[in-house]
């Protein structure tokens, strides 16, 4: 039992992250002080949330390359609403962000569900369309900090029990997704639809519909992240979060979520995102140019997929009695 626990991917990844922290701590002890670690977690919250959104989609054997464009578009929508109609309460803007993001996700989902178009094509296309729409909406202009209301900017920064609200929202999202995936029929159907789509049909699961919901929920999370992004950085413009979709896929791959669908845990997704967040925050602290970040995450993705591929490799069918597990 213990040996199996230690061999589990999530535990191994947690061990790697601990080693990473120890290594960084030796070079710069300030990085591993509790206060800074809270800051690192807070800074990684958006990546954690959107990585889990990506995970929902990947579980169903799909991929969403449009999440970052979704963040940019919903972020711009709420920032402009805040600028032109400052009287709209922030809570309503957050709701609008979630709904708008959910609708952008649902558009992806509809093409995949109703027309059966491969997810990579749909989301490559909507990635450009959504990103271009930010330009159409804003005319290429920026919404800067002074054009946003104070309440709009305050939400993610408010500190409760030593952790900013941004971090709390991250934790809440993780818990809700964990319950959703483990404790609801729809959540389990994502695993079934991605793990064996043929069998899912026999089990009474509409694979296309499951995918549609995965995209819609994922889109809603990306929408929420859109608001958090523009309010935290207090600026909205066309290129916000460009390339962020790759970080979310990277977090999933590092977290052991199989790109072939049907395999992956919330813990894995969170750890994968934390790993990237720690690397990103640690680089300046250990005096490495931030220009290294892209190459490092690329290298980490490659190492992670190679490790995943090796562990997923089939050994063959279990026919011989002695090769089977006796529980």
């Amino acid at each position: 039992m213990m040996a199996q626990f230690l061999k589990s991917r999530d535990v191994m990844l947690a061990g790697v992250i601990l080693l990473l922290l120890v290594g960084i701590g030796i070079i710069n002890p300030r990085f591993v002080q509790p206060g800074n670690l809270v800051e690192v977690f807070n800074d990684s919250s958006i990546l954690i949330m959107v990585a889990l959104a990506q995970m929902l989609v990947i579980l169903t054997k799909c991929i969403d390359l449009s999440v970052s464009a979704n963040i940019a578009l919903t972020g711009m929508i709420v920032a402009m609403l805040n600028f032109y109609y400052p009287e709209i309460p922030v809570a309503a803007l957050i709701a609008i962000a979630i709904i708008a993001g959910g609708m952008l996700g649902a558009i992806n989902g509809l093409f995949i569900w109703k027309l059966g178009i491969p997810s990579i094509v749909v989301t490559l296309g909507t990635m450009s369309v959504y990103r271009g729409s930010v330009f159409l909406l804003s005319g290429g202009a920026w919404i800067n900090a002074h054009q946003m209301s104070d309440a709009f900017k305050a939400v993610p920064r408010t500190v409760i029990l030593g952790l900013p609200v941004l971090g709390w929202i991250g934790i809440l999202t993780v818990l809700l997704i964990a319950v959703f995936l483990k404790m609801t029929r729809l959540g389990r159907s994502l695993y079934a639809a991605g793990g064996n789509p043929t069998a899912a049909v026999y089990a009474g699961i509409d694979v296309g519909r499951s995918r549609f919901y995965a995209y819609t929920i994922g889109g809603a999370i990306a929408g929420l992240a859109g608001y958090l992004w523009v309010s935290r950085y207090a600026v909205a413009y066309v290129e916000i979060a460009q390339g962020f979709e790759l970080d979310t896929v990277a977090a999933c791959v590092i977290g052991g979520i199989s790109i072939a669908g049907g395999i992956g845990s919330v813990v894995g997704g969170v750890l994968g995102a934390l790993f990237l967040g720690i690397v990103k925050n640690a680089l300046p602290v250990i005096h490495i140019s931030p220009f290294w970040q892209m190459a490092i995450s690329g290298a980490v993705i490659i190492v992670a997929v190679v490790i995943n591929a090796r562990s997923e490799r089939k050994v063959g069918r279990l026919i011989l009695k002695e090769a089977q597990v006796h529980a």
């Binding site: 369309v129 159409l136 892209m294 690329g298 290298a299 490659i302």
Partner: protein
Amino acid sequence: MSTISAPTPPNATLTPRNIPDRLSLGWRRIFQRWETLLLVVAVLIFIFNAFASPYFLDPWSLSDATYNFTEKAIVALAMTFVIIAGDIDLSVASIIALASTAMGAAAAAGLGTPAIVVIGLGVGILCGAFNGFLVTRFQVPSIVATIGTMSLFRGISYVVLGDQAYTKYPSSFAWFGQGYVWWVITAEFAIFAVLSVILGVLLHKTSFGRRVFALGNNPVAARFSGVRVERIRFLLFLMTGTAAGIASVLLTSRLGATRPTIATGMELEAVTMAVLGGVNILGGSGTIPGVVIAAFVMGLVTFGFGLLNVPGIVMSIFVGALLIAVIALPILWRRFARRRA
């Protein structure tokens, strides 16, 4: 019992049932071909452009118009092979960036044009080999592997360049992206034309091309039929790497500068061009002539938008919507036709 034996060579006298080799293609079938439809679209856009701008029909202006698609189209030709084989290479634009960075470093070190070009192509080939190695040796899905190398290759460019740029290239290097082979025929266009013919023959007239189709349609059955599946997949990634190397030489030469952001988003345009050209994104079918026509269509559209003063990012909305539309419309059309039937 008959006296035929398996190991005898084919013998025409043994044909009791006459099955024709193929049915003759009617005009209807030719008109229903995707390539025909694309060609019509290309002509329509051409006519529109001619009306929209009096300068469009000038040979020099037409020659200029080819610059906005030839580099992408060269990448798209190789991408066509990879997609037909059931894979995808999302790292091509990053390979262009890395190859360009290597060429910039070579130029900065004082190397001459031939050495710079060899280095650019060499980096492209090496990157392709690395992708091919990952995909075939570790059985990693190509989409994830190339998302990883997409980050890695461009990341190395960032590490080398940061926010700097290489701008000092020898003057003879400018020929590839700015020179002419004959009259208005640019070097870029000539290279694209030659590659189209070579790759068209390779895909449609050789046993290698036949195996690519077999592998893309059913990799398991292809392997069970003695096709060296992994070797072909490796070669195809080598091919996209090489094509990206060539595109990098042309693009770097045309711009005369290397920044780490060079060719950002070009993988999307290359995939779109291939899909618009009728290549099935799931693998198994597609043609080089279709992709060549699609390249012209996208070039003409870009030129037309330029005439209308539409910004580049709006063009990207169009490209994105086009990508979905060319796949969605035939599906909707078939559904509509079936409902009426």
